[in-house]
């Protein structure tokens, strides 16, 4: 397993390289240079040229990429054009919050999605299946930030069951951490729960028709055991693929949802950076999110081996 993981991680390197080209290229697609952003509209062309030289922006583009990339590999994404703060400091401080919410969302999505999809499949055509189908379709259509707004208001403000605002790190208090994550995770996870439920229902129905399920029943196994032991593991294979897609959706959604719950994640920072064209910070956020997503997908690739032995040996 560890060897497979290592192999897959190495295989992901070219992808990270491509993303880095994209992130680096962003700046050069932008009208004007970083120096203009720093110096503002009143800057003289001489002052801009001078700062360009100081920042190395007059060098050949390949050299610029090389310098940026070698720094980035060491965790140095330069300084914010606006606050002059090291981008990596901001990332290290802010990203754990965003990742916590994304993870919370994924947990919610998996729990609700797997249970909902399984119930719908086992009660195919009955009332509970129809209700779940309806909820699934709605779940796919409801904007997560609206759900967040509603949850924060009705369960955080009107009834103060959960905190409507703020964040507590896991190092301070695990229970408080989870407590603060409940509403944002729900808001974030419901949409993906719908996606997973759909896949789970379809996957399970497909598997339940397979000959090996009949053969398992022929051995005299109770239906519950047949479903849990013989069907679920196989039904999970297509679900994993979907979970892989959701990892990316979760990071994007967390950036949005965390702002509604006033959580100190990367969201507010990146929106501010976008509005003020603070490219180093945008680049840093792009790179870190891409690496997280690629890493998650690698983990998911490896987990296929657990669910599908045919993958393991090939």
């Amino acid at each position: 397993m560890a060897r497979t993981l290592a192999f897959r991680l190495v295989a992901a390197v070219p992808l990270v390289f491509l993303v880095s080209l994209l992130a680096f290229g962003l700046v050069h697609l932008m009208p004007g240079s970083a120096s203009e952003t720093i110096l503002g509209d009143a800057a003289t062309p001489e002052a801009v040229a001078e700062l360009d030289a100081e920042l190395g922006l007059d060098r050949p583009i390949i050299e610029q990429y090389w310098n940026w990339a070698t720094d980035a590999v060491q965790g140095d994404f330069g300084r914010s054009l606006i606050t002059s703060r090291d981008v990596s400091d901001t990332l290290v401080e802010r990203f754990p919050v965003t990742i916590s919410i994304a993870m919370g969302g994924l947990v919610v999505a998996l729990m609700i999605g797997v249970v909902g999809g399984t119930v719908a499949a086992l009660r195919q055509g009955r009332l509970s299946d129809r209700v779940i189908s309806l909820l699934t379709a709605s779940g796919l259509a409801v904007p997560n930030f609206w759900v967040a707004v509603l949850l924060a208001f009705y369960f955080g403000v009107e009834r103060d069951w959960f905190p409507a605002i703020g964040y507590v790190g896991p190092t301070e208090s695990i229970t408080q951490w989870i407590y603060h994550l409940i509403l944002p995770s729900l808001a974030l996870g419901l949409g993906s729960a719908a996606v997973i439920a759909r896949q789970m229902r379809g996957g399970l129905l497909d598997v339940l028709d397979r000959p090996y399920i009949r053969a398992a029943r022929a051995k005299g196994l109770r239906y519950r055991r047949v479903v849990v032991v013989h069907a679920m593991k196989n039904a999970f294979i297509p679900v994993i693929t979907v979970v892989g897609f959701q990892a990316s959706v979760m990071i994007g959604g967390a950036v949005l949802v965390e702002q509604i719950f006033g959580m100190p994640g990367i969201g507010v920072q990146v929106v501010g950076a976008v509005l003020s064209q603070d490219m180093p910070l945008v680049q840093g956020v792009v790179m870190v999110s891409a690496v997280i997503v690629i890493f998650m997908n690698t983990l998911i690739d490896v987990s296929y081996a657990y669910f599908d032995p045919r993958v393991r040996l090939s």
Partner: protein, 632 residues
């Protein structure tokens, strides 16, 4: 195209979303006709009101009418959607077509880049593009359009790849048509369906992203409003007017839901093809069972010495024309350690009968409650699923046609083999493994202890069938049901597996119900046979007698169709015609249409099983007994 639209509107999943989208479209085109107030007119006498006759959805902090604002926001939403989707098509379609068609390096490079961009969360990428272009709804839509262009590229490329090698494309190419012509004339029309589905669903996703960007203040700018930016404003006003967050949120949700549902419905219409459900339903003629009794079942009550005694077994299957009997009043007996063949062409109901005995009928297939299946003196019809699983676990073992598909690919063979031993025989894990090793050894799998750790895909078909047999033996059954156990195997393995089955039955004193279409196999394996045709037993008897002197014309035809090797010439006689389906009502003999000896009475008289003077034989033929003499 026209008929597709008709079929789409004919179903609620097509009509309701279209209706909603028509409303939204109308609001976008002619908002003035719908709005009750000027959406931007402040009225400080009526701020943050709840819904009322005057303000249907209440008002905001400037006293502006929420209903009118929601209606007014339909236009930017529609424009944004159109912009983004057009951009994605303008970019995605040509690139996808080109890359898919050209293939090679172009394909590899572009798809790598697309993959790389896809590894970024969509919203983060939209952020990056807005950062370059600056905030504003149009810029936001450029970024979203770019994002969805990637999806279109993927979809179109995939479709081109799958159609490219079709003969008609090849022919067009060889005839010298220019590439552009081939693409636009031949390829594009073939992809319209999936493309429309993708575009419809893209609209939904675009609206969601637009709403998110506007919610963050990166999309539409004041004083314009979209549903997303209205939600942004609503956040701070909620405390004083909880209503205010509902209308824009519901507007987004309904519109997205409408696009998604419409896309799904369109896909359904495409895949279903013309005709579809409506016609099938109309065909539903009333179907009943042929009235009348079966001579055998009434005359012979369940045999007290029998291990398995089946009486009047009727099994109903769902068909396009409603439920229909696939097995009609089947009756037969099996004594302990007896091997009985259930023979017939496909469609004769033999497999359904076997599954009915084991209680393994698929969903929707039901046993008529008047049927009787007595196993070891116990009536099985009407038993609960839990009771039946006990019967299967301890008394009846089953072997299936396709051994590789009948083993669970995700579990080791050892686990699957030990499972019933632990559950039904209460063995410990270690004892179960030891017993599993014995069983595998017994069925002739080499190196059994090692092989227990393997997964099913590591076994050949023949070996997998041996594993299945071992699994059936695990419950120490007194009856084994083997459903065409050798059909999926190659010829040399077939013989080995058959010999193994016969040997096991003799050694362990098990009875076996052997289902096959191959009379040659019946002759080798079985003591007695029940010949089935179109859901009915048409002849039963001792295998030796039956082969020597088949009574029923169908049995004779079946015997004649066994491939025989005459020197080096193989001759195969087939029976002309086909087996009538479960729902087909036939007055008289169900085999009549294919029978060589058919005469007028056969088409009008209901034919029953007639007991022949010979020991234990019966035949469902008006000529029963008569034809036997003429046959050597």
């Amino acid at each position: 195209m026209r008929s597709i639209l008709h079929r789409l509107v004919a179903r609620p999943a097509g009509f309701i979303p279209l209706f909603w989208l028509a409303i939204v479209g109308f609001c976008a085109l002619l908002p003035a006709l719908v709005m009750t107030h000027d959406p931007n007119a402040a009225d400080f006498g009526a701020i943050l009101e709840g819904p009322s006759g005057e303000h249907w959805f209440g008002t905001d902090d400037f006293g502006r009418d929420t209903f009118s604002r929601v209606v007014d926001a339909a236009r930017p939403a529609a424009m944004a959607g159109l912009q983004a989707v057009s951009i994605s098509l303008v970019l995605g379609l040509p690139i996808g077509l080109f890359v898919g068609y050209a293939g090679g390096w172009w394909d590899r490079i572009v798809m790598r880049i697309v993959d790389a961009i896809f590894s970024l969360p969509g919203l983060i990428l939209a952020f990056a593009i807005v950062a370059i272009l600056g905030p504003g709804l149009t810029n936001a839509m450029y970024s979203v359009g770019f994002l969805f262009a990637l999806r279109i590229i993927r979809l179109v490329r995939g479709m081109v790849l799958s159609v490219r090698e079709e003969p008609f494309i090849e022919a067009a190419r060889l005839s010298g048509a220019p590439t552009a012509t081939v693409l636009s004339r031949y390829l594009l029309p073939n992809m319209m369906g999936p493309l429309i589905v993708q575009v419809t669903i893209s609209f939904a996703a675009v609206l969601l992203i637009e709403a998110a960007l506007s919610f963050l203040g990166l999309g539409v700018q004041q004083p314009d409003a979209t549903w997303g930016s209205m939600l942004r404003e609503a956040r701070s006003l909620q405390r004083d007017n909880p209503w205010i967050a509902w209308p824009p949120g519901l507007a987004i949700t309904f519109t997205v839901l409408a696009f998604n549902t419409l896309g799904d419905a369109y896909r359904d219409v495409l895949t279903e093809g013309p005709g579809g459900r409506a016609k099938a339903a109309k065909r539903g003629a009333s179907l009943g069972l042929a009235q009348g009794t079966t001579a055998v079942s009434d005359a012979d009550p369940a045999d007290p010495n029998a291990l398995l005694s089946v009486r009047n077994l009727t099994v109903t299957v769902p068909t396009s024309a409603g439920p229909a009997p696939a097995v009609r009043q089947l009756s037969f007996d099996m004594r302990p350690a007896e091997v009985v063949g259930l023979v017939g062409e496909s469609g004769s109901g033999k497999t359904v009968s076997a599954l009915a005995v084991a209680g393994l009928l698929p969903r929707g297939v039901t046993i008529d409650p008047s049927s009787q299946i007595h196993f070891d003196g116990e009536q099985l019809v009407g038993k609960t699923e839990a009771d039946m699983s006990n019967v299967r676990g301890t008394g009846i073992g089953m072997i299936f046609q396709d051994p590789t598909a009948s083993l669970n690919p995700a579990l080791t063979v050892g686990y699957q083999l030990a499972e019933p031993l632990r559950i039904h025989h209460g063995l410990s894990k270690k004892d179960a493994i030891d017993r599993a090793v014995e069983l595998l050894d017994r069925v002739g799998v080499n190196n059994p202890r090692q092989r227990l750790k393997d997964f099913p895909h590591q076994f050949s078909g023949g070996m997998a069938q041996r594993v299945m047999i071992a699994m059936a033996l695990a419950s120490e059954p007194s009856l084994i049901i083997a459903d065409e156990p050798t059909t999926a195997l190659d010829v040399t393995t077939q013989r080995q597996v058959l010999e193994l089955l016969v040997e096991l039955c003799e050694d362990l004193g098990m009875a076996m119900l052997f289902i096959t279409h191959d009379l040659g196999v019946v002759a080798e394996v079985c003591d007695r046979a029940v010949v089935m045709y179109a859901g009915q037993a048409v002849e039963t008897g001792d295998v030796y007698d039956l082969f020597a002197a088949p009574d029923h014309p169908y049995s004779r035809a079946l015997l004649a169709s066994v491939p025989l090797l005459d020197g080096d010439e193989e001759r195969l006689v087939t029976i002309p015609g086909r087996v009538p389906g479960p729902g087909e009502q036939i007055a008289g003999c169900r085999f009549g249409a294919r029978c060589e000896l058919v005469h007028e009475a056969c088409t009008t008289t209901l034919v029953e099983l007639i007991t022949l003077p010979r020991d234990g034989r019966s035949s469902r033929c008006l000529l029963a007994g008569a034809s036997t003499e003429s046959n050597p």
